[in-house]
C-alpha cells in the first residue's frame, strides 16, 4: 500500500515536471514568434517608408538601353559596390587570360641603361624609388669578359619556387603563365622573398608611396600598394587585359623588349612594334634563361649582349667589381 502511494506520488511529480517543461518550451517558442513578427512588421514598415515618393525624378538608363524616369526614392543605392568590384577583379585576376602563355625576350645587346622601363614601372605600380619590379643590373660574367646591362623583371617561372612556399595562396600562377600577388590575402611572412632565387620581390616595409584612399584594389596592377604586403612584377597583367604591352616594354627607347604569347609563337618589340616568331628569335640569337640549372623554368628569355652598338660604361667605369656583378653571386 505504502509503496503504491509512493509510486503514485512519483508519477504525479513526473507528470507535473513534464507539463511544466512543456509550458516553458511553449513560452520560448511564443516569445521567439512574437519577436520575429514584430521584427518583420518593423522591417516592412521601414521599407515602405523609404519608398515614399519624394517627387524628385531621376533619369536612369536600363540594362537594355532604355532611358527612363523614376522617382528618386525608387533608386536603391548599392552599398556593396566596392566589395563586388573587388571580388570581380580578384576572380578574373586569379583566372587569367585563357589560351595565352606570356613570354618576354630581353635583348641585352640593345640595353644601355636608359632606365625608362624602371621609371614607367615604378610610376604605374606606385613604387618607392628603392622598390624595383624591374631592375637594370650591371653584370659581368667573368674576369675578362665585357660587362653589360641586364634588366631583371620577375621571370614568371613555370615552376615557381615562390608560389610553392606561400602559406595562404596569396601568390599564385595563372593559366596564362603570370605569377600574381593578392595583397588582400598576403599575411606578410616574406617566405616568397626567401624562396625567390632571383630577388624579384619587394616588400612594403613602410606605408606605401600613395595612400589607398577609397580606391578599389586591382590585383592585376597590385595598386593600391599595402603596408606589410609583397609586391613584384606582374607582367603588367592589367595592360595585357586591355590588349596593350607591359609598361616597361612600351617605355623602352632602345628596342630591348620583345613581348608576346608563346602559344601563338609571336613576340612584338615594344619600341619598333615589329612582330616576329618567338622560337625563331631565341633560336637564331642564342636565347637563354638565367640560372636555368635551378629548374625554375623562367619565362623571360635573354638574347646575349653581342654585336653591341655601344661600349659599356657606368659612372665612367668599363670594368665592374667582381663581388657585385656575377651571376651566381660570388667571385668569378
Amino acid at each position: 500500500m505504502n509503496e503504491n502511494q509512493e509510486h503514485n506520488d512519483q508519477q504525479n511529480l513526473n507528470e507535473d515536471q513534464a507539463r511544466r517543461s512543456f509550458l516553458k518550451k511553449l513560452g520560448i517558442f511564443a516569445g521567439i514568434g512574437a519577436v520575429a513578427t514584430a521584427g518583420a512588421v518593423y522591417v516592412g514598415f521601414d521599407h515602405e517608408k523609404k519608398k515614399n515618393p519624394t517627387g524628385k525624378k531621376v533619369r536612369v538608363l536600363t540594362a537594355d538601353g532604355k532611358l527612363m524616369e523614376v522617382d528618386e526614392a525608387e533608386l536603391e543605392k548599392n552599398e556593396n559596390a566596392a566589395t563586388e568590384e573587388l571580388n570581380e577583379l580578384q576572380r578574373r585576376g586569379r583566372e587569367g587570360l585563357p589560351g595565352k602563355h606570356w613570354v618576354m625576350v630581353i635583348d641585352l645587346s640593345k640595353c644601355r641603361n636608359a632606365r625608362m622601363c624602371m621609371a614607367a614601372c615604378q610610376g604605374a605600380h606606385e613604387l618607392r624609388p628603392e622598390q624595383h619590379h624591374i631592375n637594370v643590373l650591371r653584370m659581368q660574367d667573368a674576369d675578362h669578359t665585357e660587362p653589360y646591362f641586364m634588366p631583371k623583371p620577375c621571370y614568371h617561372c613555370d615552376n615557381p619556387p615562390c608560389t610553392k612556399v606561400c602559406p595562404v595562396d596569396a601568390t599564385f600562377k595563372r593559366q596564362d603563365g603570370i605569377v600574381l600577388i593578392d595583397n588582400e590575402r598576403c599575411i606578410g611572412c616574406r617566405f616568397c622573398i626567401a624562396g625567390c632565387p632571383y630577388s624579384a620581390r619587394v616588400f612594403n616595409w613602410i606605408e606605401p608611396l600613395k595612400p589607398a584612399n577609397d580606391r578599389v584594389y586591382d590585383v592585376e596592377l597590385n595598386v593600391p600598394q599595402k603596408k606589410g604586403t609583397i609586391s613584384k612584377c606582374l607582367f603588367s597583367a592589367d595592360c595585357l587585359r586591355k590588349g596593350e604591352m607591359p609598361y616597361c616594354t612600351r617605355a623602352c627607347p632602345n628596342g630591348v623588349y620583345w613581348f608576346g604569347d608563346r602559344n601563338e609563337d609571336t613576340v612584338t618589340n615594344g619600341t619598333t612594334k615589329e612582330t616576329v616568331s618567338f622560337s625563331e628569335l631565341i633560336r637564331k640569337n642564342g636565347g637563354y634563361t638565367v640560372l636555368e640549372e635551378l629548374g625554375t623554368k623562367p619565362q623571360v628569355y635573354y638574347l646575349p649582349p653581342k654585336n653591341r652598338a655601344f661600349p659599356f660604361q657606368y659612372e665612367g667605369k668599363t670594368e665592374l667589381d667582381p663581388n657585385d656583378s656575377r651571376i651566381g653571386g660570388g667571385r668569378g
Binding site: 612556399v165 598576403c186 616595409w205
Partner: protein, 447 residues
C-alpha cells in the same frame, strides 16, 4: 623500481622531508615582486615597440628586401631549438630508464613548454600583417612548410603540456593537502589536476602507461618541429640554405642550446630554491657529460656544413663563406664557434671542471652562442643572392639591429622567464612523487 623499500614509518618521515624541501621555495616570495616588476618593465617597453612596429610597419627593423628575414626569424629558430630539450631529457632519458634525470626532468619540461608557447608568438611578431593571421586557417595550403610548422609546433605545445601535467597528478594531490592556505584559485588548480588521485596500484599503472605513451609520442613530434623549422630555409634554392643536412644539423644544435638552458636553470634552482640535496654535483657532472656529447655531435655537423662547401668554394657559396670566415660576419662567427662551442666542449671533457659554477658560465656562453648562431644561419645567406644587389640604398646591403628589434627580441625571452616563474611558483620544480619513489617510499602513501 626502488633499491630498498622503506618501512611505513620511515616512508612517512622521508616523504614529509621531501615534500617540505620541495614545497618550501614555492612559499618563499623573497624578491619575487622585484623580479616581476623587472619582467613587467620589459613587457611595457616591448609592447610599446610592437605598437610602433604595427603603426609604422616592419621598416622599423633592419630588415629590407634582400635580408627580408632578420633577427625575429633567428629568435624563432632559437626558441624552437630550446624547446626541444623537454623531449630530450624527459623522454629519451626517461624511456632509457636513466635515473639521474629524475630531479631535472620537470625543469626541462617547464623550459620546453615556455619556449614552445612563445615560439608561436615570436613568429607573429615577424608578420607584416598580423591582423590576417586567420588567413592561415582560412586559406592554408599544404605545400607550404609554414603550414607544416604551425601544425607541428601546436601539437608539440599540446603534448608538452600533457607531459608536464600528467606526471603532476600525484604531486597535485600532495599540494592539495599541503597548500590548504593557498589562495582559492590555486587550490582549485590543484584540485582539478588531482583527477581523483588516491595512490592505488591501478592508478599508478595508468599513470605510468600514459606517461610512456606521451614520451614515445613526443619524440617524432619534437624531431619534426625542428626539422620542419630547418626546412623553412633548406626548402629554398638559396646557396647556403640549400643543404640536405639542415634537419639533423638544426636538431643537434637544438640539444646544445637546450642542455645549456637546463644547466642555467639547474644552477638557479639549486641555489635560489636551496635544492642542493636534490640537484647535486653528481647531477651537474652528468649533465656536463651530456653537453659534451651533444656539442661533439653539433661540431661534427658544423664541420660538414662549412668545411664541405668551403673546400669546393663554388661561385654561389664562395662570397657567403668568405664573409663568414674573414669578412663582415667573421667576429660573430668565430666567437660563436670557438668561445661558445669548441672551448666549452673541450673544458667540460675534464671531470674537474664539471662543477656547478664553472658550468653555469660555460652554459651562458653556449646559450649566447646558440642565439648568435641562428643569426648567422638566417641573415648572411640573404645578403648574397644569386643576382647582385644594386640600385638600392646601402641599408639594403647590410644588417644593423634597431632598438625596436632588440626590444621585441627580449620581450619573448622575458615571456619565457615569466612562464617558468609562474610554473615554479605553482608547482614544485622537482617531481615529489618520483623522487620519493626513488628513495623507496611506500607508493600507497604518496597522495
Amino acid at each position: 623500481m626502488a633499491s630498498t623499500k622503506l618501512s611505513s614509518e620511515e616512508s612517512r618521515k622521508v616523504l614529509d622531508k621531501i615534500e617540505t624541501d620541495l614545497i618550501r621555495p614555492m612559499r618563499s616570495h623573497k624578491g619575487l615582486e622585484l623580479w616581476l616588476l623587472f619582467l613587467g618593465l620589459i613587457f611595457i617597453v616591448g609592447g610599446y615597440a610592437y605598437f610602433i612596429q604595427l603603426r609604422d610597419g616592419l621598416g622599423v627593423t633592419a630588415m629590407r628586401d634582400y635580408s627580408s628575414w632578420g633577427s625575429y626569424i633567428a629568435n624563432f629558430v632559437f626558441f624552437v631549438a630550446a624547446s626541444l630539450i623537454g623531449m630530450f631529457i624527459s623522454s629519451v632519458f626517461g624511456l632509457l630508464k636513466i635515473k639521474w634525470v629524475i630531479p631535472i626532468s620537470r625543469i626541462a619540461e617547464m623550459i620546453a613548454l615556455a619556449f614552445a608557447m612563445w615560439a608561436g608568438l615570436v613568429i607573429v611578431i615577424d608578420m607584416g600583417r598580423p591582423d590576417r593571421l586567420h588567413h592561415v586557417f582560412l586559406y592554408g595550403r599544404f605545400q607550404s612548410p609554414i603550414v607544416w610548422d604551425i601544425t607541428v609546433v601546436t601539437s608539440y605545445v599540446a603534448i608538452s603540456m600533457l607531459l608536464l601535467l600528467i606526471p603532476m597528478i600525484p604531486d597535485a594531490s600532495i599540494l592539495k593537502r599541503r597548500m590548504s592556505d593557498a589562495p582559492k584559485w590555486q587550490q582549485m588548480i590543484y584540485n582539478l589536476l588531482t583527477l581523483g588521485w588516491d595512490a592505488q596500484p591501478e592508478q599508478y599503472a595508468i599513470l605510468k602507461r600514459s606517461m610512456r605513451v606521451l614520451m614515445i609520442l613526443i619524440i617524432p613530434i619534437a624531431l619534426s618541429i625542428h626539422t620542419v623549422t630547418s626546412w623553412l630555409f633548406a626548402m629554398t634554392l638559396r646557396a647556403g640554405w640549400d643543404s640536405t643536412i639542415f634537419g639533423p644539423y638544426f636538431v643537434s644544435g637544438a640539444f646544445v642550446a637546450g642542455v645549456a638552458a637546463v644547466i642555467i636553470a639547474m644552477y638557479f634552482f639549486r641555489y635560489n630554491y636551496k635544492l642542493g640535496d636534490y640537484i647535486t654535483d653528481y647531477h651537474f657532472n652528468r649533465i656536463g657529460q651530456v653537453l659534451v656529447l651533444v656539442s661533439a655531435v653539433y661540431i661534427y655537423f658544423n664541420l660538414n656544413e662549412y668545411f664541405v662547401p668551403a673546400y669546393k668554394m663554388r661561385t654561389a657559396e664562395r662570397l657567403h663563406l668568405e664573409e663568414m670566415f674573414t669578412g663582415h660576419w667573421a667576429y660573430m662567427f668565430w666567437f660563436a664557434q670557438i668561445f661558445c662551442l669548441a672551448i666549452p666542449t673541450f673544458l667540460l671533457i675534464f671531470k674537474k671542471l664539471r662543477k656547478p659554477k664553472i658550468m653555469l658560465w660555460l652554459a651562458v656562453f653556449v646559450l649566447i652562442g646558440a642565439w648568435l648562431k641562428r643569426i648567422l644561419i638566417v641573415i648572411p645567406v640573404q645578403q648574397h643572392p644569386y643576382l647582385p644587389i644594386q640600385n638600392v640604398p646601402d641599408s639594403f646591403k647590410e644588417y644593423h639591429f634597431t632598438g625596436i628589434e632588440i626590444a621585441l627580441n627580449i620581450l619573448p625571452i622575458a615571456g619565457v622567464l615569466l612562464i617558468i616563474t609562474i610554473l615554479a611558483k605553482l608547482f614544485p620544480v622537482i617531481s615529489v612523487w618520483e623522487v620519493a619513489h626513488e628513495k623507496g617510499v611506500d607508493e600507497t602513501i604518496i597522495k
